[in-house]
Symmetry: C2
């Protein structure tokens, strides 16, 4: 049997374009003699459709699209992910379904059994889990058809009571197909391969796995669809971060020893590539082309600018340099050099005048009070106002340049430098931002060396350095990783060798700045635990603060 | 048997104060001869603890607190809600548990069976559902001990396959206890009473129900704990929106016919009271006392100011009047009158100067382009900068004054009037804001009549009216309610009698402004479907837009 894997970029709710994309590939498959073409999980709606799934109208449009697709499945069968209605009369109103289409119609529905409901996943919010098991037949082959998480119950302490493959294996399938929507983070490709290997080898069955590519707001899908033979050895891997379409013959699956190497030797490279996809798709799917950002002379805005120029084209990016009395000369000269290196246009607009003007207006009320946080934030907010004025006037999307370390400890100004339509580096720790800069400079100096080597500073008061109020970033990022990614408590972090005073102070800063993170832009997710929908915290809590 | 219901206000993660509050009531109960005192669901941690539940340290502190509480349970038993660890070796790592404490120790754990995972609820993110059923004995009485949602599977098309009361009824209990964390919305009290009535009368058992009061960020708990007799008639109702503690004798439950009337005759009154609790608790739990807001002369800021003054005390609220060249005279005079009526301090700070200054700075780039959205937003953002300067300088929390209608259609400026630590009216449609103003004025004119009767305007350009760019609010709010609360699609809304062009335009506006709502402050939830964590939408989607 010839199976095609269609690793495509879908757009949530865009039934017209998703359907057309699927139909085009079905025709391509048929003309290549393919027996069965496989599309990813919830391909028809895009993933994740989130609460649009609660709209009857949305589900009806999806059903209509599936039927339209089915009509094209003549002389070729297809598996397409889309929601289906729960007709049982109890439980959640929908299933997350793999629709089997053949002979011009829908011939079978296989529902997802294991519904991820953790981190960024909310599937039990919408879907009833499947409870009955059957195989799908195609060209005399019996297929164990599974959906993403269905293959992931492989832990020693499994998250789910039921294991779909255990049930399906009893029915003696010839092969496993898994349709997925498995978002990227910098460790995910390794884990995914490991999980799929375990399934193929445990059941001695070849495995065909197809994933989404492209991003949907904060979630980036890296593709990397896989074919494994019945020993669990890799036969093929589809492209990372690009659409791909490949055809395989089930009678002729040869493992490819070249593919046994780790998928990403350098997680920083994978983060770099993922962020490009994230930026590109955010703009394309919203119908925008132009970005603006504030270029401070620091490393975060420098890396963001380099990524934006690469993702959108230098001609589509505008940088504003907005020095204050506290800005050092090198902030301007470094920024100018970076913009020139990238071929990005920039304007230099000093903020001293608006700042003095606000000072004047506020004088009657602030008189006699020392310069402090209010005045620091005022500068950041004036910059925010200028950037948004350009954004509103010319249709740029403002890119936020905050990194994960400062987002974590609340080192940023709400309605100032925390503004933006999309946060590019909000899931990248400061130490990783440095590594990204080095990676961007791997062949030539794009980001001026001085931007990478000078001590980080917000430059909001005289001679300010980040290290005045924060621990060194290499210490800070380790503590943050233990707290945010690993969810360790203070005692465990201290036991790992960090100073108790510092640990308690950092954890308190993280918890006290929850109200700020509540209002940050969507953050491109590249780690296993990003701020945003994957980390849900109460604001008024009193815990470690 | 004497049962006490302890309807208390807990603080998420504040184990010290929650524990002390529980222990104090246990002592009070014992000295009143109570046999069993009942506290709400997850009382020990506060509800909802959200992702703090993923921290081992957090769970350990909760366990320690439960054991500390148990030690005080001598000569009196207690039921306390707190998480417990799943020891089974599969499934989610926790249970949502009612801990039965007696003789100075933990004697039984009853886990929640039905885990709400919709709207604002995420319980299946953390908890494994219970699968085994047993009663709890106390003073010879057999208790069907249930947790909140466990009693809610009463629909004709039930959301869950298992019904805990069906199972427990087989074991012949003498009474039902339900510990809950059931947040307020303006229809919830009626539904809740109906659900409890159905349970009591179906099983012919008296029912004791205890709820939280107080708010946690956006969620407001109204209390209103209930006792029903075995016919389903109301015996008692604890206070709305206040802590309460009442003792009942299971041998002497007399239904009270005075309680058969609807709980809230006026939903606007209940929203009013809920918002006061929401404001009060947000400040108290964060340790703040002072609020600031921008007073525009419009109805939204007027109602917000009146609520804030009532919740926090007039002396703790500061209003800024920030007229521009487009502000009408009455905007100032009405605002001054309102501030005086309330006894609230205000400053008048014109924004013409900062505005001209920004215009000057932007002139080289904006030259020759007409006045537009950028200039309108600039005014709103200058006001935002001024408010945040006061907030940062003097420690006020900025209250956001946007209503639900404008939040829905994106009629507001990000980093301008959309700023704030808390949105007071973000779940209150404009037509409801008018009703709230009338309610606030029910005994005397607090909000000047002119604020209520003049046509709504953002006053960001000459002679602007909301009705220039939006349908009339009575039409708009009906369309929005059908789309947001009822989740109807365009065809259904048009079929309900609304103009097709208007419907499509409104729905498009709602979907296109998802990126704005992503960055709004937490919104006090008073409706069955509020913006925020209860309504989760993708930003880049292409559906109805």
């Amino acid at each position: 049997m010839k199976i095609a894997l269609a690793q495509l970029n879908f757009h949530i709710g865009n039934f017209e374009s998703n359907t057309q994309k699927i139909i085009d590939r079905i025709h391509e498959a048929r003309s290549s003699g393919v027996d069965l073409i496989v599309f990813p999980e919830l391909a028809v709606t895009g993933y994740p459709p989130r609460d649009f799934l609660e709209f009857n109208d949305f589900i009806s449009r999806s059903e209509k699209a599936v039927n339209q697709i089915a009509a094209h499945c003549t002389d070729v069968a297809a598996i397409v992910g889309a929601p289906s209605r729960n007709q049982i009369g109890k439980g959640k109103p929908l299933f997350n379904t793999a629709w089997f289409l053949a002979n011009g119609k829908v011939t079978k529905l296989i529902h997802k059994t294991l519904l991820p409901n953790y981190d960024i996943f909310d599937e039990y919010r919408y879907f009833e889990p499947n409870k009955t098991f059957e195989l799908v037949e195609c060209q005399g082959k019996k297929i164990a058809l599974t959906i993403c998480e269905d293959l992931w119950n492989v832990d020693e302490n499994p998250l789910y009571y039921i294991d779909p493959m255990t049930e399906l294996a009893k029915l003696k399938p010839d092969l496993i197909i898994n349709i997925a929507a498995s978002p990227f983070h910098y460790r995910q490709a390794e884990t995914r391969l490991d999980v799929l290997r375990q399934n193929a080898s445990k059941y001695s069955l070849p495995l065909f796995y197809v994933n989404h590519i492209g991003s949907q707001t904060e979630l980036i899908f890296d593709g990397g669809s896989l074919v494994l033979d019945s020993k669990g050895d890799l036969v093929a891997k589809l492209a990372d971060f690009e659409e791909d379409f490949q055809i395989f013959d089930t009678e002729n699956l040869l493992s490819n020893p070249d593919l046994t190497a780790p998928i990403f030797t350098n997680p920083i490279e994978s983060i770099h590539d993922a962020l490009l996809v994230g930026i590109k798709n955010y703009f394309a799917k919203l119908g925008f082309t132009k970005a603006i950002l504030g270029l401070s002379g620091g490393i975060d805005s420098a890396v963001t600018l380099a990524l934006a120029a690469k993702a959108l084209g230098a001609e589509n990016v505008l940088a504003l340099l907005m020095p204050s009395q506290f800005s050092s000369d090198h902030s301007i000269s470094d920024s100018v050099q970076l913009a020139n290196n990238l071929g990005v246009s920039y304007h230099k607009i000093g903020i001293s005048e608006p700042y003095s003007n606000f000072e004047e207006v506020l004088k009657p009320y602030f008189q006699g009070l020392p310069f402090g946080l209010a005045e620091e934030n005022l500068q950041a907010r004036i910059r925010g106002v200028l950037l948004m004025a350009f954004s509103n006037k010319f249709g740029h999307i403002l890119l936020n340049t905050s990194n994960k370390s400062e987002a974590a400890v609340g080192y940023g100004t709400l309605y100032g430098d925390m503004n933006g339509g999309l946060s590019v580096l909000g899931d990248v720790y400061k130490t990783q931002v440095f590594a990204l800069a080095r990676f961007i400079n791997r062949d030539m100096e794009i980001i001026p060396e001085n931007i990478i080597t000078k001590p980080p500073s917000a430059e909001l008061r005289p001679d300010q350095k980040d290290s005045d109020s924060l621990p060194d970033y290499d210490i800070l990022d380790q503590i943050l990783t233990l707290y945010i990614e690993e969810r360790k408590g203070p005692d465990e972090i201290i036991a790992a060798g960090f100073d108790a005073f510092t640990v308690n102070r950092v954890l308190k800063m993280v918890n006290l700045s929850e109200h700020k993170r509540y209002q940050t832009p969507p953050i491109l997710r590249v780690s296993p635990k990003a701020f945003g929908q994957g980390r849900r915290m109460p604001i008024v809590a009193k815990y470690l603060n």
